[in-house]
Symmetry: C2
């Protein structure tokens, strides 16, 4: 072998080592076994430990708790679980702004509840309404228009209006630890879904960009729609009847309708999530139920109203409770700045 | 360089060439540019050519018609598009068998239509009912039981009952060219969905195994369900009210509800698919609308009833019509045996 062919061979070998290395890198979807922390904004503790242990077990083919990727369904409530829900559901605040427009067009609405209370701006009067009363009373602000018009209004509002306390866009008032959890689940081939009382068209505006959850994996409340093929293009007209109010026992029904598989991980924060957690807890596969508890007045909010029964059941059934005060190292993405 | 190190280097080089080759193979999801025919059961012709051209254009990043993978949504009708629909919708035949059980339990049903006609076995009497009449009349056979019971009955039926003409399980009476088209679309990162008048729970029994379409991508007709967490586990009780009859103008409404994106490819066969095709045709992205026409009495069936308007619109709007007689080289998978 001549010296020159030796050099070529050596260079070629180096090239191939490099090529094989790059190929291996490109192929590897497995997280490397290092000290890398997938949840840096979570404090060390039982909750973080249980989440990581669960994900490691269900993704380990040698574990008795292994679950195949197509069965790794995770469902998340949105209001109070992925983003904040105080002082009121953000979509209700959006509806309040639409109320003003509606009253301008039809002043007789001024005397009708919940419009009267909303226009008065009396927080106590508004607080008297249940979430259901508010949503059903306000559904009128989301209908009698095309879906395109509705989405445009909601996009404009989400792109400009800011949270009264945090002075940030509502889409910034999402929980940094939850964003990390979603990423962690995506990296481990979980299929994450939103299953929330929020309007499906409202949540889809930001679900992909903010959470990495594509539109087809958003389950929410919806109104009846009418399809028409018009000369200007296809139109969906939003009608005044509710199609589905995605809360409580309707959540598992809509999970069955949209997903057709039982989740193995469910994450909620209120009594409206109980049936979703109960559904997840009753199966042959390993599962993890998580409940976010808001107990940090300083960094976020502290409340138990509307979550009492869920907290009781979590204790009874050993569902994992996440306490914002002790489990969240950082609450919002802007806290890191 | 010594001779022996030259040999080692050569062996090592061979190993690396081999390793790089294997890595490249393992990594490659791209179809190779060869003469490989992705649709071998399709005859050469306009239809096959238009399908392949469309897929090649929307997946080619250098093409002006390129469409990103997340927007490559394809929706398929099931009855008469993916599997046969004669002598009657297969799910209607399943319901007929349940009618017999119901009449045993409640003999007064014998005198009620469509039960009377069904029990008489008079084909002409049955043929008088529209598909909607039959489905709404037969919805009673699918309710007042748990969803688990319903699915079990349907699984048993699909696993044993055979098509009267072809003497095959119904899940074998699927079109071989359509199976190849689904595979071809999956290989090209299309997200395929079923959007059909069939019951969602009925279609999910075989959609993944037969079509490679997972349960969450099946949109169908559905009844109202009630969720209960019982001591025996979570139960969905099928109620007598229809939630959604997924036909005609309801198809685009359910596509919006479940997918939240407009399809760029839609495939149907009857007037019930018109609105899905109209919806797909009206957008800024490139699209392909396909209509299967049953004109092969010898190998399958020949009929136009219930498809007249769709055929007219296909001609008017230049949607691609697929003629079973000339475009399908093979009709059913068992024809190849």
């Amino acid at each position: 072998m001549s010296k020159s062919s030796g050099i070529i061979s050596k260079q070629f070998t180096s090239f191939l080592v490099f090529a094989a290395f790059i190929s291996a890198l490109a192929c590897s979807n497995q997280p490397q076994a290092t000290d890398f922390d997938p949840l840096p904004s979570w404090n060390e503790g039982v909750a973080k430990q249980q989440i990581i242990q669960f994900v490691e077990e269900v993704t380990n083919p040698d574990s008795s708790k292994y679950v195949s990727p197509e069965q790794r369904i995770a469902t998340f409530d949105n209001d109070g679980t992925l983003w904040a829900e105080k002082p009121l559901y953000f979509q209700v605040l959006f509806a309040f702004d639409l109320v003003k427009e509606m009253v301008e067009a039809d002043p007789s609405l001024k005397e009708k509840e919940p419009f009267r209370a909303i226009l008065s701006g009396e927080k106590e009067a508004i607080a008297k309404f249940s979430h259901e009363d508010l949503l059903s009373g306000l559904i009128g602000t989301h209908v009698d228009m095309t879906n395109e018009e509705f989405v445009k209004k909601a996009e404009d509002w989400l792109g400009t209006e800011k949270h009264s306390r945090f002075n940030r866009l509502y889409t910034e008032c999402v929980y940094q630890p939850m964003l990390e959890l979603l990423d962690y689940l995506h990296e481990n081939d979980f299929q994450t879904w939103i299953c929330s009382g929020g309007g499906v068209e409202f949540m889809r505006i930001f679900s992909e960009e903010v959470y990495g959850i594509p539109p087809e994996r958003v389950i929410g409340s919806s109104v009846e729609m009418e399809f028409k093929d018009t000369p200007q293009g296809p139109v969906f007209y939003r009608k005044a009847e509710l199609n589905s109010f995605n809360d409580k026992e309707v959540k598992p029904v809509n999970i069955l309708l949209h997903i057709g598989r039982q989740p193995i991980l469910a994450f909620g924060n209120s009594d409206g999530d109980i049936e979703m957690l109960q559904y997840t807890a009753r199966q042959d596969l390993p599962y993890l139920n998580l409940l976010l508890h808001h107990d940090d007045e300083e960094r976020e909010y502290s409340y138990t109203k509307g979550t009492e029964k869920a907290l009781e059941l979590a204790e009874e059934h050993k569902w994992t409770v996440i306490y914002i005060s002790k489990d969240f190292k950082v609450v919002f993405p802007f806290d890191k700045e």
